[in-house]
Subunit: 369 residues, 2 copies
């Protein structure tokens, strides 16, 4: 089977990400060799179909994927560059600048052009090879992070890899990547953990009043401390920059609340500070693209049961707007004398999950696609 | 039809909450009279089936529900207490202490015992009578907030009302209520808006890396600034107390990140601060009860399709644990030669939504209940 991926591929570190990459690459027709510091993990990875144990007679890998923890990535990359002088060597750590600095400090100048960074974006709550799956990166962004000296062949190799595993390749430099993930992943994690941390104090009766909003806001707070100490530590500068802005705004809000505290006739400025917070939040949340990173313009059709009562269709369209989904097209299906009609709602395909889930949460009956 | 609700009921203010209460009470057999400062809104409410326009020959209301904005609630309540000297008068504003203070300042001492606060907990993104629905409060907490002078009949009336509309009555005093909603609703709203507010800065390419975590964390940021200025202003003290603690912890995190910034060998203390943040978040998020306010201990069974490949069942159980749901029981159903098996997973019924949604997000095929 022909593949866009240079083969064989050596996957070093068979956790969730390395394991899933191996499975995906195997399905894409690449010969995958696996290795892990833990022999047990390596054996499990082979059993789960991540790849094969390297044999002495195997040809040298053309592509090496280092899926080791960020703190050891640089050493492993340097070793790989020296061991396989022909291979493109990429790491898949979720933070890129610190890894690049580490490689620059360790690697020989002549090896550096064969190094390239990568970050296949995927769910974080899961971990371990036991959770690996070949379709983990399907439709997700695959960030390719060349440094100024990276050879074009390395970029081509990773674009081919991203395509073969069904991801959407995106190219950024290391600092742009780290700023981006600080915004879309690391700062939201810190904020969700801060919110969840305030829930140690209230009574059970108080928590009994919790609704969907609190659960959504704190869902990602249930994640691995060890993993996140590594990530936040490795991206400290970018995360601190964004959190610094958050702190400034939080201080404004606290000042506004203090002036409103018990005051019958609060200052306009205080109310303006609160309104500005919510309004900017409205604008910010509407900038978030759909599930596949806004990669597609295709429409999807969601079919909703509409009770034959005055205002029901209007309510549906109102709520679709409130959910933040643009209506692209609407087709109604209604039998005379029947108590319900069907609304076929065409929307941006990347918003389908959001709309289906949100409508269901609001009590609408949504027909399965 | 007999009902536990004193009838007729006068609903003053027919927005989402007042409108939904009217619909629910009508279905429960109460005679509902509606009034709103806007004649257009009143007419629409009647058309949507919230209730009827009061007629001169109508008997006086036994129960008055004031669903006016918090800033005018006290005046409307006082007027109602004076207009109907026999009626129990309740307001449904989402903040209780400031309303109670307002009523105490305005109302005659002999009227005060007939006043009682209430807060039917319901979704906030929606607004307006067009979005009203009779089942809005189904299975949700209905907080009853008597003051020390409230007559027992008023408490009985609201318990009856809560029961008739399918809510779960919960009794708290005003300050306990305001502290509770600060924790479960107001502070999460501020934090979600703060996160969303940071999304005005990044490039579209950066936002293209967004995943489900960011969307969940910021979903409630898409809410009405005018409404939230009222709510946060009316509950400024309780919100400021919780946000003050958040600010202290945020400062610790910023200090830790600064010490980690570019440092090859970061201090143990800094890493401990980050690990503590995530770990406390883990504990906090696990305290949140399920959809119905943790009201039930009954089990629910979720049926999941398990591909017949090594590790799949283990992966399912691992992920169920990672989702934070305790497995109460497991039954397997497997036909020889069939490529998939069924896992019937028994869990706390209040976790069913979370598990079903999370497993689906992770790509599992979950059979509909």
């Amino acid at each position: 089977m022909t593949t866009l991926v240079p083969s064989p591929v050596r996957v070093i570190g068979t956790g969730l990400i390395g394991g899933s990459l191996g499975m995906a690459l195997g399905r894409a027709g690449a010969a995958v060799q696996v290795e892990d510091v833990s022999p047990g993990t390596t054996a499990l990875a082979v059993e789960l179909g991540v790849g094969a144990l390297p044999a002495p007679e195997d040809p040298a890998p053309q592509l090496v994927l280092v899926a080791a923890p960020p703190d050891v990535a640089a050493q492993v990359i340097d070793r790989a560059l020296r061991t396989w002088p022909e291979a493109v060597v990429a790491d898949v750590a979720s933070v890129k600048t610190t890894v690049l600095e580490g490689v620059r400090a360790l690697a020989r100048a002549e090896d550096l052009p064969r190094y390239i960074g990568a970050h296949p974006m995927a769910g974080r709550e899961v971990s371990g090879v036991i959770a690996a799956r070949g379709d983990l990166f399907q439709g997700r962004p695959f960030v390719i992070v060349p440094h100024p000296g990276t050879v074009p062949e390395a970029v081509t190799a990773l674009k081919g890899l991203a395509t073969e595993i069904g991801s959407v390749p995106v190219t950024m430099d290391a600092s742009a990547h780290d700023t981006a993930v600080a915004h879309v992943s690391h700062v939201p994690q810190v904020m969700a953990s801060l919110v969840a941390g305030t829930l140690l104090e209230p009574t059970e009766a108080a928590l009994g009043l919790a609704g969907q909003g609190l659960r959504d806001t704190t869902r990602i707070a249930d994640s691995d401390p060890r993993l996140w100490v590594e990530i936040l530590g490795a991206n400290a500068a970018a995360v601190a920059d964004v959190l610094g802005d958050v702190r400034v705004r939080l201080d404004d809000i606290l000042a506004a609340l203090d002036s409103l505290r018990g005051s019958p006739d609060p200052s306009i400025g205080s109310r303006r500070a609160l309104a500005g917070l919510i309004a900017d939040g409205n604008r910010g949340v509407r900038r978030i693209p759909g599930k596949h990173g806004g990669g597609t313009d295709a429409f999807a059709t969601v079919t909703v049961l509409v009770p034959d009562r005055p205002g029901e269709l209007a309510r549906l369209l109102t709520e679709i707007g409130q959910i933040g989904v643009n209506l692209e097209d609407l087709r109604l299906e209604h039998e005379l004398g029947r108590a319900v009609g069907l609304a076929h709602v065409a929307i941006d395909a990347t918003r389908e999950d959001l709309l289906t889930r949100s409508l269901a949460e609001r009590g609408w009956t949504v027909a399965d696609a």
